[in-house]
Each structure stands twice: as structure tokens, then as C-alpha cells.
Symmetry: C2
Subunit: 310 residues, 2 copies
Amino acid sequence: MIEKILEGDIRAVARALSLIEEDGGRGTQGLLKSLFTHSGNSLVVGITGGTGTGKSTLVEGLAHEFLKTTQKVGIIAVDPTSPFSGGAILGDRIRMQSLATNPNVFIRSMATRGRLGGLSAAVNDALVVLGAAGFQVLIVETVGVGQDEVDIAETADVTVVVLIPGMGDDVQTIKAGIMEIGDVFVLNKADRDGAEKARLELDALCSLLVPKQGWIPPILETVATQRQGLSELVSAIFDFKSKVMGSESLLKQRIDFCRTRLVDLLRNRVVDEILSKIGSEELDHFAERMAAHELDPYSAVEELVKLGKS
Amino acid sequence: MIEKILEGDIRAVARALSLIEEDGGRGTQGLLKSLFTHSGNSLVVGITGGTGTGKSTLVEGLAHEFLKTTQKVGIIAVDPTSPFSGGAILGDRIRMQSLATNPNVFIRSMATRGRLGGLSAAVNDALVVLGAAGFQVLIVETVGVGQDEVDIAETADVTVVVLIPGMGDDVQTIKAGIMEIGDVFVLNKADRDGAEKARLELDALCSLLVPKQGWIPPILETVATQRQGLSELVSAIFDFKSKVMGSESLLKQRIDFCRTRLVDLLRNRVVDEILSKIGSEELDHFAERMAAHELDPYSAVEELVKLGKS
């Protein structure tokens, strides 16, 4: 499987990604260890924004644009948790149909099963597999807002935040929440009414951001459905890559991210060990006493630590 | 301090809550241990919904309504992370002015500093303090959507989801994301255009939910600014309390929540211990090697576990 992935065998890649999703990565550690040193040469582009911003169409167009200069493009679309959104997501995938038959493009949806930490770890592992399989550009598309976006922005080399004109005041706060993570801003559906107003708002919001390494995030206008503005977007991404990505401060940021990830993995590993020692019944017993307000959580944890060590 | 809190001394309560926020609760474990068995008798009401739904005004009115039958009401408002939303939040607090001078009401904002787990733990600890101080009703207001809401809904005995008419299709998915956690739904601003349409949509969404213990979430219409529909809301909350809260399945849910919380606390505790053994410099060294793609994260964690045990 390792060799096949390194050769870029798509079926092997797909199988590895399924394994990563299935068990939270536990069974794929051996594989990932072997692939890791072969990965890291891809450009990871995060595309994030609210629902209805036309992200999927933008990602589709962007993939076509990247394919003009790049051989292989991988796309990971991160789906929201809710069972209700199934339909919309399926629709998104269908909208990417122009890429579905292209052998140089790999598209995969990953769901936010379980906890967020888990998803971000799964996306990271998927990027290792795709990177090792020789995909030069990896696009990670995230739906919605919140900690997901921030976690995944940490993974991406460059983060593109997608907004549209005519989002009302209600959405203002949501917009604000993802402003800090943008390296490049896209005002999609720029042919709509209110584009100029949105542009002014966006300029104002961007002026509040602290530049990274002298980089002031550009605001680009696109009409993804018409493939307008996409070559400019790709240029801006490569511009960011050449001006900022090799810099000292970004390396520091990368090391910080690695440290966080190591601590997360360590945490899961150590707690797995201790819980297997304590046993599920004993843990239930503590939880029952806590639920009955007989035992406070902090004393319970002290006792559990003792049990885990004995 | 413990005695003062048990007597309901507001200044002691406020100081305890500041301590909880300041150090992520580490320095307050002794205090919380002593208070825990005195807490757990309050009704914890979660109020959640998007920005612009008028939640704060609803919470304000709800507090007044609860005060008709309850002596003391505590309110914890959970703020979103973004620095940009500072203004809006401040506005919310100002809108609750009719409660600010009431000695039987305690209002506190808690910010989402750092990681989500941290916030949910801090809110839990704050609820212990307020419960021990004799607040019979505790309202937890959350802004935005996502894992925050789900985590905090697990904390609440009853969760009220607030929606408004005229949220467009863009917001549909966001709405869907919080539908699953609602025990009671409120259609606020029900005097607005589109209330009937929203009601129909909401009925349709609710019909997809799986009833808990035979409880079908009611949909109530309110106009919080006019204090309309609030007594019905309080009745619905108490109705849920009497019909569902004592039930076997809810106790099971409560035990599950306690188990999750214990594992979270255990995780943090154990990893703190192991990291203090490894030392920050050594960890940096591993992160640097990982950032340079010389060492994969899984092998790194194995080495770190060995270091932490030696």
C-alpha cells in the first residue's frame, strides 16, 4: 500500500483515507509514519467561508486554474456535523462534476464525526497521504464557522476566506470571526447588487488586521460560476507563497502548530493507556457518583490518576 | 470564601468566577471540591441561537419571569472569541440593564479564551459556584453555533433554541445545526413579517427530530422586547423539567456527560504531568523536527511517551 501511494495510485490513496476516517487514525499510524517524510512538499490551500458563498464552485474553478501549471490537485471538503445538511453537501459534490472524471484530481469529503480535534487530525493525516502521493496542490474546503476553521487554517499554508455581497448584519459577526485567519480574501458573486458596499465593509474590516510579515491580505473579486477572477486568485496565492511562506515567522508558526498537534496526540495516547488500565466499569462508577453530586470531578480525577498508575 | 459563597455572598461569588476564568480553574480546584456537593439543585437553562435573534432581551425577560416564582436567578453569557464582536456583546449587556441593579440576579459574561474544552469546563465550574450560592435557576446564554452550543447544551438541564422569522436560506444550515439540541424552541420576534412561514419551516424541521422520552419539543412564539410569550416559555421549561428531567434516560445522559467531563479533566491532568517531565525545550525540539518533515508525529509521540515515563 505504501509503495502504491508513493506511485500515486488513486485507489490506494482512497483506501488509506477511508482507514483514516474509520478508526480515527489508530490503525493507520504505521502507514502514516512511512509516508510522512515523503509529504510536506505540497501547497495546502484552505478555502473557508459561510454557507451560500459559492465555495464549492470556487474550489472547482480554482482546481481547473491550478491544473494549468500543476499536474495534480487534491481536494478535501470538510462537511458539517448536522445530519440535516446532507442534501446540501451532496449538492456541492455534484456541482464539482467537471472535476469528477479528471484523473489528475482527487476529491474527498470528510465528515466532522465526533470531536473537532479528531477531524483536524484526520484532515492532517489525509494531507500526508495526498502529499506523499504527489499532489502538488491540496485544497481544503471548510463549511461554516468556528473552531473548525481556525484549526484547519493552522493546517493550511495559505487561507482564503470567501465572502459574498448582501450578507446582512446578522452575518456580520460570523464574518468577523473568520477575518483573522484570512491571508487572501475573496468577494465571490461580485456581480451581485451590493458588491461595492460589501467591498467597502471588507476594506474596513481588513484595515483592522495586523499584517503578517508585511503581508496585507488582498481582496479579490470573483464570479466563480463564470470562472471570473480565478487566475488573479491563483496569482495572489502564489504571491503569498513566495513572499511570506518561506519566512522565519511562518516557520515559527509551523513549529507552534506541530507542537500543538504533538500535545494533542500525546494527550489521546496517554489517556487511552490510563483508561484501559482503569477499565470502563470503574469509570462508569465514578461518573455515576459525580452525576449524583456525591463526588466532585476534581477529587474523582485524582482517584482515577492513582488507579491508572497502580 | 467557601462559607461566604454558601451564604450567597455576591462579592465572593464574583471573585470565585474571576479565579475560574483566570487560570483555567487550576487554582480553584480546592474551592470547587468543597462547593460541589452543595451544588446540583439548580435548574440549568441553556438559551442558544444565532446572532440577531434577540437572545439577550429574551434572557432578560425570562429572568424577570422566573423571579416571580424563584428567589435567585443567575445568568452566564458566553461570548464569542472574535475581538470584533466586542461592541455587540457590550450592547447585549447594556440591554440587560433592568436586571443590573436587582440583588437577586447575578449576571456574568465568560469569554471563549483559548480552546473550547476550556470554556465548557469554566462554565461548568461557574455553575457549581452559583448553584452552591443558592441560585435556583441558572441561565446560560450562548452566541453563535457549533461545538460550543453542543457542549453547553450537554451542561444544561433544558435547552431552549431561539430562532427568528426571515432568516434566509443561508442561515438554514446554521439553524439545522442546532436543531438537535433543542428541548424547547422559541420563535422570537414573532410579530415580524414571515413569522408564519418560519413557523411552518420550524414545524417541518422539528418533525424530523427523535423525541426524547416521549417529549416532543414545543414551538413557542415570543416578542421578547414586549415581554410577550415569556410566561408560556417558563411553563414549557417547567413542564419539561417535571416530565423528562427525572427520567431514567436523562439520568443516563447526565452520567454520560459526567464521564466525558472526567475523561477531559483526566486528559489535561495527565498530559500536564507528562509535559512537565519532558520539558518545554525537548518538546520544541520534537516540534522542529516534525515541522522540517524529518520526524513523523506518531513516532514523535512514542518517543515522548517514553521520555515522560523515564
